[in-house]
Each structure stands twice: as C-alpha cells, then as structure tokens.
Symmetry: C2
Subunit: 224 residues, 2 copies
C-alpha cells in the first residue's frame, strides 16, 4: 500500500505505532475521512466510520477533532492551502495574464483529482454550520478573486480578449471544480491528461479562428 | 406571488383548493421541495418540512411521493426533461457543430439558474440509493454524449479546432453545472447575462488570437 499517498484508502498504520507524531495522526484522520466522504457522502459518514477504518476508538478520534464538521474543515483547509500556495507561486511569476490563467487551470485541475479537492468541492454547503460556511466561502472568494485578477491582467496586457472577467472566472473555476464530480482515479483519463487538456481548452477556447483564405487551429498555450 | 413561477418560494396554494388536479399538486410538491433542498440541503430537509410549507399533512404528501428520494428524483426528471427537450431542438437545427455547442451552453445555463437545475446539480451522489443513482447517472451520461457529438460534429465541419471531445465536453458541462453553486436569483448577474457570456467565453475561448500586424478581439458566436 503506498503509505502517505493522497488516494490511499487506509491510513490506520499511522495509529498502529505509538511513536508517530500527532500531526501525522491528524493527517491520517483527514485522509481517511476524505476517502469516506467520497465513498458515502459527508451526510452518511459517521465519526464511528472514521474511527473504525483507522482501527481506533471514537474517544481517541475526539482527541484530534471535536466533531465531523471540524474534520471536513480540516480537509478544506488542506485543500485550500495547496491551492493558495499554487496561486502565490503563479502570481510571483512573470508572464502574461493568459499564461497565469493557464498555469492556474493546470495546477488547480491537479488538486481536483486528489481526495481533498474532490471531497471539499462535492460538499453541499447546506450541510455546514454558519461559522464553517463563512470560512469555506472565504476560501472560495479568495481563489475566485485571484483568478479574476489574472484574467484582468490578461485583458490589460492584450493576451486575453475583452470579456466579463467575473463571469469568465466563474466559468473556468466551475469547469475545474466539476472535475470532482466525474473524475475516477481508476478511470481512463489521467490527472495529467485532464489538467493539460483543460488548460488548453479553457484558455484557447474551442473555436477555430478562421483567417481569410486559410484555416488555422489554435495552438496550445500550455507546455507539456 | 408569481403563481407557477419556477422560483416561487411558496406553492401551498395548489393544495388550498380542492379543485386543483393531481398533476398541479404534484408539481407544487416538487417546487417546494426544490426550494427547501436549496435552502437547507437535501440531507437536512425532512418530509415534514415539505408538508409544513405546503400546509398539508405528511400522509397527504405520501399520496404523491413515497419518500424524499422519490421527490428528488421527481425534480431530477423535470430538470432532465427540460434539458432533453433543448437538446432535441438543437440537434434538429441546421448549423455547425460550434453553433450547436453555443446553443447548448446558452440554454443549459438558463436551466441551471432555475431551482430544479440548481438543486439537482448540487446533490451529493453519495446521498442516493443505488437505483436512484443509476437513473441520475443515465441522465448525466445522455447529456454528456449529446454535447460530445456536437463537439465532434464541429471538429468534422471545421468550426471547432481539433481537441479531445470527451474532456472538452466535461469542461463545458462542468462550467455550466457549477452555476448552481454560485448563482443567486437576487444577485447582480441575470440569468440572461450569465447564459450569453458563458456561451461566448466557452465557445470562443479566452485567448485573443493575434493576426500578424494587428490585434482582433474574438467576435461573439451567440446572438443576443
């Protein structure tokens, strides 16, 4: 079993040894819970399910998280942290707005194929308490604003055709977020294929642009 | 109150008169339930909530639907029916593949702004029984296949640049499906604005295509 793999279905080994540090155990809880949320939905997963799969008792689980929502928020924070790191890296890079959008889609699509990304984006916000909802919405808003700024930069530097940056950002984020609904780790499409093709399709568009007298296919913006 | 409006929050009037036909009452149940699923999530909505809002008893509700999942499936069938009708109309039209994709996005985006579309797309599949899941997946697959065929037609007729039609269809469907996650009927963006801009952004792409010596913005494929 690939220990530490983000998609690994069983993380009980982290609890099998007394020597593991609390952070490792905490992450093992999140990995296991994310897997269960994907298998059974957040609503149908109980703390007992999580404890059982980790081969620990429910009271031992309470040592790390006080309820199921806190576990979900833990997953969310991990996923959001990964995305934020990516966004900081992209923002610090030189390049056109279009290149930044391209890099954003490629990296974000990759996060959407790992369990944290998948389970947090599949979540029904109606299942959250108002505090948790506020936190989750803050993450979403942050990501959305950064993407919007990249698009606006692209419009300003001429790499992106004039458009409504707000709606365009929603369209891109939606396409990428939706990956969590159909992606299967065992399926025929690899994360790399999806990320590359999404970056290409969404930045360059579907439409073939006709120049008078000849036909030119859009060239890929993303380097593979 | 706009009677019969898809977004109307209260449909108890359908039950206030003895003369209303069963189909009207059945639809009133679905409208009310869709509204509640959006407000509280599917998991947190009880049959009692639905009955209370309709001002009827729970046994009266059982006359129309035998459980909550059947109500959800009823919503799903209505939403899927609308989309299927649109797809048949588009398929019957003349036009390039790109024009069909454009029409699909525009119409589908509109469905995603009404309550049936919103509540069914926000659903966590893990909340469904295996029979219901099979039915829901059949709808999704059907829609996805039709969109894929439009894209393939576009590649064949030269209106769409060569791409992986399967992944492109997922990207488009995802962007449109995700509308249910952020659209607010009272928000600043109208359904018409969203549908038009999505059709434009997703079919023509973000990238400005530079012709040697001058810069040309992509012209909108969708007629407003």
């Amino acid at each position: 079993m690939p220990k530490g793999s983000l998609a690994s279905p069983s993380h009980w080994k982290a609890f099998a040894s007394r020597r593991r540090d609390p952070a490792t155990k905490r992450e093992a809880v999140l990995q296991t819970a994310a897997q269960l949320f994907l298998e059974k939905s957040f609503g149908r997963t109980s703390l007992k399910d999580v404890a059982d799969r980790l081969n620990i008792t429910k009271p031992a689980l309470y040592h790390y998280f006080r309820n199921k929502e806190q576990i979900l928020l833990g997953c969310y924070r991990l996923g959001a942290g990964m995305i934020e790191e990516i966004l900081n890296e992209i923002a610090a890079q030189c390049g056109t707005g279009l290149e930044k959008v391209d890099a954003f889609i490629y990296s974000y699509a990759n996060v959407m194929t790992i369990n944290f990304g998948r389970c947090v984006m599949r979540l029904d916000e109606g299942d959250l308490s108002s505090d948790a909802l506020a936190e989750v919405r803050t993450y979403k808003r942050k990501i959305d604003r950064r993407l919007r700024v990249f698009i606006q930069e692209g419009i300003a530097d001429g790499s992106i055709a004039p458009c409504d940056a707000k709606i365009a950002a929603f369209a891109i984020a939606g396409a990428v977020n939706w990956i969590c609904q159909w992606y299967e780790p065992e399926g025929s499409l690899s994360a790399e294929q999806i990320a590359s093709e999404f970056a290409r399709t969404l930045t360059r568009g579907l439409a073939r642009v006709r120049k008078p007298g000849r036909v030119t296919a859009a060239s890929p913006a993303h380097k593979e």
